[in-house]
């Protein structure tokens, strides 16, 4: 497949950045072995910049690499990000994990990425029924913060409203405690504690995860339902008010636990209670780093 205009723009930006020495590494996408997949590419030499590409198959959130020591050692880094992924960069800046001065954000306009399982079957159209739920509620088709912007050649995503994103949340909320319990017991029963969700998350950057701490043992280590539930609860709790909704955890889960139903529910709660959305402003104080005297108090006697 020939280079698209998007790819050319990306490559030009990357070349310029590397040549001028403004960055020493660029993280981007390149075409995978399978034409329906994109894979991450790490470019340190100008000549490799030509391999950079972008398409609605660029599903992965590359911001996850920013937490890796191997990447950090490059110092100044450029990164290709969609609007959703870019919020992760912002959150990392808010939490002092990277410095704004050390990162060049190459934003790409994105009108939705195709679900990988559908793409694998040959689907190439970006439409309401082929993209992820997160794309249907996306308000950042153009990243909120960028140094360079590459516009999309894809048509805008048309929403008929027929497909209800995360509709399962409302259904779950309306259930009785016992039904919810059963639903999640069933889901967490599948969990094998592989921690792929954690590895794929750009905001799970602790060098020692709470799960690895054993005095006390916060989470039962054996892979059984109760410990699994605890792991999933703590993971969600640690991401509440922080998760930017990239969906990588759910995509990484080998046993298909619908993790985004939890993350998204938390995001809705935090927004309803505190009017805060994660990753939109690098100067904003994280929602759990501040308080208001007028915070929601109804549940306390």
């Amino acid at each position: 497949m020939a280079n698209t205009k998007t790819d050319e723009k990306l490559q030009k930006i990357a070349k310029d950045l590397l040549e001028s020495g403004e960055v020493s590494l660029i993280i981007g996408y390149t075409k995978g072995s399978n034409s329906q997949r994109m894979r991450p590419l790490f470019v340190t030499r100008t000549e490799d910049a030509d391999k950079l590409s972008f398409s609605p198959n660029a599903v992965q959130d590359l911001a996850v690499f920013l937490k890796k020591a191997e990447v950090k050692k490059f110092g100044k880094i450029g990164i290709v990000v969609k609007g959703c992924d870019e919020k992760a960069v912002n959150a990392l800046i808010q939490e002092y994990q990277i410095s704004r001065d050390n990162i060049k954000i190459i934003g790409v306009e994105c009108n939705g990425v195709i679900r990988q399982n559908i793409a694998d079957k040959g689907e190439t159209n970006v439409s309401e029924s082929t993209v992820y739920d997160k794309c249907l509620i996306c308000e950042e088709h153009i990243p909120v913060l960028y140094d360079f912007l590459v516009e999309s050649e894809e048509p805008k995503l048309v929403l008929s409203g027929k497909v209800k994103p995360y509709s399962e949340i409302a259904r779950l909320e309306s259930m009785s405690s016992e039904e919810k319990n059963a639903f999640w017991a069933n889901e967490f029963d599948k969990c094998i504690k592989c921690y792929a969700c954690r590895q794929a998350c750009p905001l799970c950057y602790c060098s020692r995860c709470i799960v690895e701490k054993n005095t006390p043992q916060w989470i039962d280590t054996n892979s059984e339902e109760t410990g699994n539930a605890q792991w999933n609860l703590i993971r969600a709790y640690h991401l509440s008010g922080r998760c930017i909704g990239c969906g990588e955890c759910e995509r990484a889960c080998p046993v298909n636990i619908p993790l985004m139903l939890i993350n998204e529910k938390m995001a809705i709660d935090v927004y309803n209670m505190f009017g805060y959305k994660s990753g939109l402003d690098i100067n904003a104080k994280p929602v759990f780093g501040v308080f208001s005297e007028n915070d929601f108090n109804d549940f306390i006697k």
């Binding site: 950057y205 060098s207 020692r208 005095t215 640690h238």
Partner: protein, 660 residues
């Protein structure tokens, strides 16, 4: 291996009446690691403590648990006893089986079961106690006093006389505060300025006191022993060291109309360059640039400069920033009087002859606008009938504040008395709800105002004041006779309530001390630590803490001073060791801990290798500031910070001890 001793106290029948103490002891003995279990009638008694100490020694205990009364009662007692035997005092845990078991439950069986549970929890906790060493912080032996009213001056003088250097910062051009505005003081009727002026002069001349007037504290950082402060010395436009206070400048100032005198509470006027009052300390004028012609009209007027002998007026002087380091601080910022214009029914602001208590004080004062002759503001006539209204703003949750302002009963009695003394044949009426005259000589003072000076007291509030034929008609109630009364007065004095100095909440935030919903600074403990703020090294004095009179303000100033002198009597300050502690190897420097810390106790620490290359940044706890609240622990995702004495694994062990 843990060697724990458990001691079950009977507390006479207080515990033993409801809890089977023997059973608790038996259960304790069964717990692995417990090497000694004992029950005794009164553990806190001397023999009780002695047996505790003996067993620590004999059994070489590594920790002890007392199943006894609340830790708030005797934790310290037992810690001290343990320390005497060389056991780390923090290896003492209390299971509260009195206040939270025997006194609140009735079923013996169940109460005993609960007592056993609580004892088990503490055994598990004490097993996991880590030795805690109290922290020592070096002290800079210099003090800062913020606010130069009577409380601040007293504190500064006491500290200075103790041989410690003091910086006294006052916002206004002169020290003296509200007290210097008063005429005479209750209940002895000493002249306020006669007793205040010498103190002001002493503070100014004391070799250990550095006085900054017309200055404000702009920034404070650091912690006990080591506070860094920035003081803004506002430009006076007068070179202080050259000024003789001769007065030629203010006599020459053409701006002598329409600028209200703050000192005389708007009852007189002042010039643009002025001293607030003749006995001001320092006796150096201030040029008020907001009204000065020189500044308003492009530099043309310089009459004051021309009149000045030593030529010490300098229009170009700039604000100065002074930086100091001190070991302790006294916050004595004083109070304001409430604005009473919210009482539409009283007509303050509408009727000139309705004045506030402080205004009346100025009308009584020989240095006031009428030179001590009582004249009413509207026409300068001497009033024959004055109505005094108490509780204006105070004890009024609807329009004012719910608290009692404490001084109004007494100053109103004083006003009525002085009015009777100054205007013969006059009559005063005082509307009151309750008379609060509880200090030495106060009740006698109020009684004599009624009995000797003829003031008529009516128990009831005033509902409305209006003007009629040059008189102020006061509609009030006398609830004792059950009558509505109307009095035609020449003047009305409202006993205005007190509120904290404007901006005191901002200062409290800067200092990191707590304050109540009105803005009064909160004591560390209202009874037992009344001179301390919630933050170590910062002390409180005067009305900034709440309504109080002059003697109480002086006492509180001295109390703060003695606390500071006590603190400075050692070279180091000891901080309780139950503070937060960072695991640097796992900290990822997200600094949520810093965000939630109310004490600015967490800072960034750079870890470098031997060559000086930065390896990582981690959170660092300042032991002088940390209070051990543990908010940081909850904020940490990777559990890289913990609080000594309440560590996560201890809490987990407690929960586990309760497992069923």
């Amino acid at each position: 291996m843990a060697r724990i001793g458990v001691f079950v106290c009977w507390c006479g029948s207080n515990i033993a009446g409801t809890v089977d103490v023997e059973k608790v002891r038996e259960e304790a003995a069964k717990i692995p690691g417990v090497v000694s279990a004992l029950d005794y009638k009164y553990m806190c008694s001397d023999p009780g403590q002695n047996s505790l100490r003996n067993i620590i020694k004999e059994k070489n205990l590594t920790g002890i648990v007392l199943a006894a009364c609340s830790p708030h009662m005797h934790e310290n007692t037992f810690r001290k006893a343990a320390a005497k035997e060389g056991l780390n005092p923090y290896f003492v845990e209390i299971a509260n089986i009195r206040e939270q078991v025997s006194w609140v439950h009735e079923n013996k069986e169940r109460a005993t079961a609960k007592a056993v549970d609580l004892m088990k929890m503490m055994v598990e906790k004490v097993k996991r106690d880590k030795p805690i060493e109290d922290v020592r912080v070096p002290l800079n032996k210099k003090a800062l006093v913020i606010g130069g009213g009577i409380a601040g001056i007293q504190a500064a003088l006491d500290i200075a006389n103790g041989g410690v250097e003091v910086i006294l910062v006052e916002k206004e051009p002169s020290i003296g505060g509200k007290m210097i505005q008063l005429d005479e003081t209750f209940p002895t009727l000493d002249c306020s300025s006669c007793i205040m002026t010498p103190k002001m002069v002493e503070a100014n001349q004391h070799p250990n006191i550095k006085l900054y007037t017309y200055s404000e504290v702009e920034d404070i950082s650091g912690y006990i022993g080591n506070f860094k402060i920035r003081i803004k010395k506002k430009a006076r436009s007068v070179i202080e060291k050259d000024c003789t206070g001769c007065g030629e400048c203010w006599n020459a100032c053409p701006m002598h109309k329409n600028i209200k005198s703050e000192f005389n509470v708007n009852l007189s006027e002042r010039t643009a360059i002025y001293v607030p009052f003749p006995q001001a300390v320092p006796l150096v004028p201030v040029l008020d640039r907001s009204v000065c012609l020189h500044f308003k009209k492009g530099g043309k007027c310089q009459k004051c400069y021309d009149a000045c002998g030593p030529k010490c007026i300098n229009f170009d002087l700039q604000d100065e920033i002074i930086e100091e380091t001190v070991g302790a601080i006294v916050a004595s910022t004083g109070y304001d009087l409430m604005d009473t214009s919210m009482y539409g029914e009283y007509g303050y602001g509408k009727y000139k002859d309705v004045v506030s208590g402080l205004q009346f004080e100025r009308l009584l004062s020989a240095s006031g606008p009428t030179e001590g002759v009582i004249k009413r503001p509207s026409d300068g006539k001497t009033p024959q009938t004055i109505v005094f209204v108490q509780c204006v703003g105070s004890r009024d949750p609807e329009k004012g504040v719910p608290y009692c302002s404490k001084v109004c009963c007494m100053y109103t009695a004083k006003h009525a008395k002085l009015f009777a003394h100054k205007v013969h044949g006059s009559q005063s009426y005082v509307f009151y709800i309750d008379i609060r005259s509880t200090s030495k000589g106060y009740e006698e003072f109020v009684r004599s105002t009624m009995e000797q000076d003829g003031a008529i007291y009516l128990r009831g509030r005033v509902s409305k004041i209006y003007e009629d034929d040059g008189k102020l008609i006061v509609k009030g109630a006398d609830t004792l006779s059950g009558n509505q009364v109307e009095i035609a007065a020449d003047m009305v004095v409202l006993a205005t309530g007190v509120i904290p100095k404007q901006g005191s909440d901002k200062l409290a935030q800067m200092l990191g001390i707590s304050y109540d919903k009105y803005g009064f600074f909160t004591e560390s403990h209202p009874k037992l630590r009344p001179a301390e703020s919630s933050t170590a090294g910062i002390f409180l004095a005067g009305m900034a803490q709440g309504p109080r009179d002059i003697p109480e303000s002086v006492v509180s100033g001295s109390a703060a001073a003695s606390k500071i002198l006590g603190l400075f009597s050692k070279n180091e300050y000891e901080v309780e060791g139950t503070i937060a502690n960072v695991n640097e190897s796992t900290c990822v420097a997200c600094f949520y801990c810093q965000r939630v810390c109310a004490y600015n106790a967490i800072s960034k620490k750079e870890i470098k290798d031997r060559s000086g290359k930065l390896i990582k940044v981690v959170a660092n706890v300042n032991p002088g500031l940390c209070t051990g609240c543990g908010a940081c622990v909850n904020a940490c995702f990777s559990k890289s910070i913990d609080v000594k004495g309440f560590m996560d694994d201890q809490i987990y062990a407690e929960i586990k001890a309760l497992a069923i």
